[in-house]
Amino acid sequence: MFEKLRSLMKILAIDRDQIEKPLTTYPRYKGFRRTLLLVMSVITLTPLIVTATLSFYQYRNLLKDEAEHYLRWNAQSTQKTVTYFINDIVTVLQYYAGEYTCEQLADPLTLGTLFVRLKRKHPGLVDLSLVDQSGIQTTYAGPYNLIGRDYSRSDWFPKAVSHETFISTAFLGYRDIPHFVVTVSKRTANQAVCGLLKASIDSETLDKFIATTKTEASDDIFLIDYGGNLQTSSRFYGNAVSGLFPLARLPNRGDVTLEYARSKSESGQEFRAYAYIDNTPWILVLVKKGYAYGEGWNQFKNQMHAIVIISIILVLVVVVRVANILVDRVRHSDAAREAIIAEAEHNSKLASIGRLAAGVAHEINNPLAIIDQKAGLMKDLMDISDDFQYKAKFAELIGGVQNAVSRCKVITHRLLGFARRMDVTPEPVMVNELIREVLAFLEKEILYRNIRLELELRDNLPTIRSDRGQLQQIFLNIINNAIDAVEDEGYVRIATTRQDAFLRVDITDNGPGIPQETMKHIFEPFFTTKTKGEHKGTGLGLSITYGLVTKLGGTIKVDSVVGEGTTFTVLLPLD
C-alpha cells in the first residue's frame, strides 16, 4: 500500500507551472546558435570575399593592360612626331646642300635668305652656318656673332665630318644653352667636301614638340642618348645635358620596349617605355608612375573596401538575425513539443489518478477509521474513569493520535481532490518531525531492503513557517530517490542543522553517484535515468522538487562523486 501511495504522490506532484523552465538557458541552444552562425557566415562571406578579391586583381590587370596599351601608343606617336621633325630639317638641309654651290652657301646673304626661309617653317631653328673642313665656322646666319668660331675640338665635329648627315647629342656649346646640331656635308662637283652645312636647334624646341604629344598615359616624357644623358628636360630626372637617366641597358631595337623599374623619387614601381628615334643618337623614354596608382585607382580601392566592409557588416547582421530567428523557432517548437508531451502525460496521469485515488482512499480510510475509533474509545473511557497516574499524559497521547488521523484525512481528501493546485499555506513546521513522518511512509521498504538509515537530526532546531504538505513532498521525493539509488544493504543518511538564516537538510546516499554530464540536466523536466522496470521515472520528480523548494523560498543543490554517492542539500529559510 505504501508503494501505491508513493507512486500516487509522485503523480499528484505534477505542476504545470513548475515544468515550464526557461529553455533559453540550455547550453545546447548556445552551441546550436554558434554552429549556425559559423556555418552561415562562412557560406555567405566566402563568395563575397572571393568575388571581391578576384575583382580587385582583375581590375588591376585591366588597368595594367590599359596603361601598357596607352603608353605604347603614346610612345609610338611621339616617336613619329620627333622623327618627322628631324627628318624634315635634314631633308631641307640636304636640299640646300644639293641645290646651292659652295660659293653660294659661303655667301652670307644667300645663307641668310635660306636661314629666314627655314626659320619660317621651323621657329625652333637657332642658326644656320657653314663650317669648313678645319672646323672654322666661315659663314653664319643667326642671332649671335659666331663667325670664325673653331669647332674642331667639339665632340660632334669629327663624327660630322665622317658622315653625310649627322645629328649630334645635346650639348651646351658657346652659348651655354642646351642644343643639338644637324649637319650635312657639302660636296663640290667632283665630290670633294667643301664644308658642313650646320643647323643648331635648342633642346627646348624638342621639349615643346614632345610636350604636344604628351597624354595622360605618361607622367614624364623625354629623350636620352645611349649613355642615359638627358637630351630634353625631364619632370623626374632633371634638365637637358645636366640630367642623367639611369639606363641599365640599351633597349631592343625595333618596336617600343616596355619595362618595370624601381621608381627614383617614390617607393614603388614605375612603368617605362623606350623607343629609338631612327637616324638620331636618341632614345625616347616615357615614364608612368605605376599603373595601379593615382586618383582612379585610390578611388577604386576605397570604394572596393567600403563595399566589402559594408557587405560584411550587412551579412553579419543578417546572419545573426537569421540565426537568432532560427534558434528561437527551434526552441519554441521544442518547448511546444515538450508542452504537448507534458500535457499528454498529465492527461494520462489524471485518468489513472481517478482509479488509484479511489483505491488508496478506501484502503487508507478504513484503517484510519479504526485508529480514530480506538483512540476515541480510549478518550471516552478516560473521560469516565477516575484520575490515575498518567491520565493527563494519556489524554495528550490520544490527542496526538487523533491529530495524526485528522492529518491523514487531509491527505486522503487531497487525493480525492485530484491534486488541485495547492497554494502555500504556511504553518509552523518542525522539520525533524516532518522528516520522521515522511520516513514512516518509506520504512517498510527501508526494512525489507535492509537499508541502513542514519539520522543526524540536530536537537533544538527552530521551527520554520512553511507548507507542511509541500515540504513532505520535497523530502519524500529526495529520500525516495536516495532509496532507489542505493543497493540493498546500502545506507542513507539524513542530517539537519542550522546554517546562518537557513535550516539545512542533507540527504546522502552511497549509491552509484551521478556523472557530471547527468548533473547538468538533473533538475530539468522529463530528464530521467530510471528508464526501466518498476521504478521507471517520469522525469518530473526532481524538477518538481526543485520548483517546490524554490516556491518555498529555499534552494536545492546536488553534489555527487561517481562510485561514492550523492548528497542533496536543501536550504529552507528561517522566517
Binding site: 478506501h362 480510510n365 478504513n366 484510519l368 479504526i370 475509533q373 476515541g376 474509545l377 480525492l416
Partner: protein, 135 residues
C-alpha cells in the same frame, strides 16, 4: 423515548466493534456485525428491528448495495446510513432515495450521533402506534 437501536455492518471488525462500544456509552443500543449475512439474519430473528443500520458499502460476498436492498425489502421503515471509505458520489446518488445519508470514513462521531438521532426520530414518527407501544 427509547434509546435508538443501531446495527453496524462493516467487515472491518475493529472499527465496527469499537464504534458500537462508543455508541453504547452514549445511550444507544448498538450492535456490530461483520458481514451482510449476519446483519440480515439478525434483523429477521431479533425481537426488535433496528431503527438505524450503519452499512458499509464495500464488503465481501454480499456488499452494501445488496444488503441495502434486502433490508429495505424486509422493512422499508428501517433507516440506513451508508459508510464509505471514499466518496463515490455516483453510487451514493444512485441509492439516495433508499438511504437517509452517507458518511465518509474516518467518522466524525458528533456528526454521526446527530444523524442517528435524526434517523431514529424520523422512523418512530412514521410508525403508527409506536409511541403507544412504549407508553
Amino acid at each position: 423515548m427509547q434509546n435508538p437501536r443501531v446495527l453496524i455492518v462493516d467487515d472491518e471488525k475493529e472499527f465496527a466493534s469499537t464504534l458500537a462500544e462508543r455508541l453504547n456509552m452514549r445511550n444507544m443500543e448498538a450492535v456490530a456485525v461483520y458481514c451482510a449475512e449476519d446483519a440480515l439474519a439478525l434483523i429477521h430473528t431479533a425481537d426488535h428491528v433496528p431503527d438505524v443500520v450503519l452499512l458499509d458499502l464495500k464488503m465481501p460476498n454480499i456488499d452494501g448495495l445488496q444488503a441495502l436492498e434486502a433490508i429495505k425489502q424486509y422493512d422499508s421503515s428501517i433507516e440506513v446510513i451508508m459508510l464509505t471509505g471514499h466518496g463515490d458520489r455516483k453510487i451514493i446518488e444512485g441509492i439516495s432515495s433508499l438511504i437517509l445519508d452517507y458518511i465518509i470514513k474516518p467518522v466524525d462521531l458528533p456528526e454521526l450521533i446527530k444523524k442517528i438521532g435524526a434517523a431514529t426520530q424520523k422512523r418512530r414518527a412514521a410508525l403508527p402506534g409506536a409511541e403507544g407501544g412504549t407508553a
